[in-house]
Amino acid sequence: MTEAIGTEPTSTIRLTVNDTLHALEVPDRKLLSDVLRQDLGLTGTHVGCEHGVCGSCTVQLDGEPVRSCLMFAVTAQGHEVKTVEGVGNDPENPSDVQQAFIDCHGLQCGFCTPGFVTTIDAYIDENPKPTEEEAREAVSGNLCRCTGYQNIVAAVQRAAELRAEGARQ
């Protein structure tokens, strides 16, 4: 399974991202966040603090939010990875969470936004009708340095409304 290029241990891996299976050769030490961005060109996943605090790199692993900077790509084999591109990648047809961010002006510079979107996308399935306090708690693991939290909290509740409407239709 492993083969050395120089002194660097590498592995050939099969990685499912946004429902597409990729075969890649990557250094064992390469983080999932870097493989998504550099090897697969999925630059929606942002890299901020790279030690798990900021939440910008959040992706879904088997439907649950996780930090892609705290995982080696090698260890993501056998799991379904969903990035922000998998949540919605069409400006003409945004996902419910993305539409909620537009409706509520939930982004300023936008750097942290993909991490919020992947987090909220999973959260509103778990809690389809969050109160403001719950919405605030739900995004407390993601940092926004523009301090746009007020509108982001509103976007969580708006996204839940949009999803409920979508489910009814």
Binding site: T75, E134, E137
Partner: protein, 312 residues
């Protein structure tokens, strides 16, 4: 790439894992959820040559509550995530303080990957889980190619971030006893921001018979080097629940004398000592309330919104 070069092994059986650990004892590390280990690697505070990823190993994913009523035990395998433990109704019934403390471990995105046994192995005195293991009288099972042994929390924790594990040993599971009937338990901590390590934190188990206090055990985070348990049974035994206000001062004084906080850029030692007393007082009074404090906590954990609890 932030970590230094390393090789990742992905064994699928415990025997294979133990062989790899034995082979790479000098410079190998076990990787489970990685939520404490990978930051250390990303910052290059550690540079192991080999990581042994145990997440695909069969037989390490047990999460169960078993045993006779009053003597039940929760078993948590090495690859069980915090979230799985936190979401288990059975665990919440058997040992509510475990789930309560877990809700303070970072954020859901971290708890989705981080493992409960991994926290114990990491032995961070700022961590909630090593303290809960000590406070509830739990133990860990440890295996290596040389055999198997069982360690109490006291035997395991020998210093900050330091355990008595040998480098070729793997904690295969942790066992948390259910709380005895009649006991009330609670956990609280204060952090500067939601999900940060607590500046101070307290876990408490109060034994009650009727309306009379029979015993009290306290554990602490961030203010002792290892998860030590303070037994205040003598100080409180015989007190009536409605006298909580008078007894609380005695408890707070004993706790402030017992702990040994250090100061750092986040808080001075005096401030941590002060906070520990404040949390102790509030927690003790809450547990002494005659309307069941336990029920309230269970409800709030299930909705995941106990914000009042966070604002100490």
């Amino acid at each position: 790439m932030k970590p230094s070069p390393l090789r990742i092994h992905r064994p699928t059986t415990i025997d294979e894992t133990l062989d790899l650990l034995s082979e790479h004892a000098a410079s190998g590390k076990v990787l489970a959820g990685g939520q404490s280990l990978v930051p250390v690697l990303n910052m290059r505070l550690a540079a192991p040559s080999d990581l042994i990823d145990i997440t695909a190993v069969s037989g390490l994913d047990e999460l169960s509550v078993a045993g006779a009523e009053g003597r039940a035990e929760i078993t948590v395998g090495a690859t069980v995530t915090h979230r799985q433990v936190e979401r288990s109704e059975e665990v919440a019934v058997a040992n509510p303080i475990l789930g309560e403390a877990l809700s303070f471990v970072a954020h859901p995105a971290i708890r989705n990957r981080g493992t409960t046994v991994g926290s114990i192995a990491h032995a961070d005195p700022n961590g909630e889980i090593p303290m809960i293991l000590a406070l509830t009288g739990g133990r860990v099972e440890v295996r290596s190619t040389r055999g198997q042994r069982t360690l109490s929390a006291e035997e395991l924790n020998i210093g900050p971030l330091e355990t008595s594990l040998e480098s070729d040993e793997l904690i295969t599971r942790a066992t948390f006893p259910a709380l005895p009937a009649g006991s009330r338990a609670g956990f609280d901590e204060l952090a500067r921001r939601s999900g940060d390590y607590g500046l101070a934190g307290v876990g408490m188990i109060l034994d009650v018979e009727g309306a009379t206090v029979k015993g009290l055990h306290c554990g602490f985070i961030s203010v002792t080097d290892v998860p030590e348990v303070l037994n205040l049974g003598e100080a409180v035994s015989g007190a009536h629940l409605r006298d909580a206000s008078e007894v609380a001062d005695t408890v707070v004084d004993a706790v402030r004398d017992f702990i040994d906080p250090g100061g750092d850029i986040h808080a001075t030692a005096d401030y941590r000592r002060h906070l520990t007393g404040v949390i102790t007082s509030r927690l003790f009074r809450r547990l002494c309330r005659t309307d069941s404090a336990q029920g309230r906590n269970t409800d709030s954990r299930m909705t995941g919104t106990d914000t009042e609890r966070r604002r100490v």
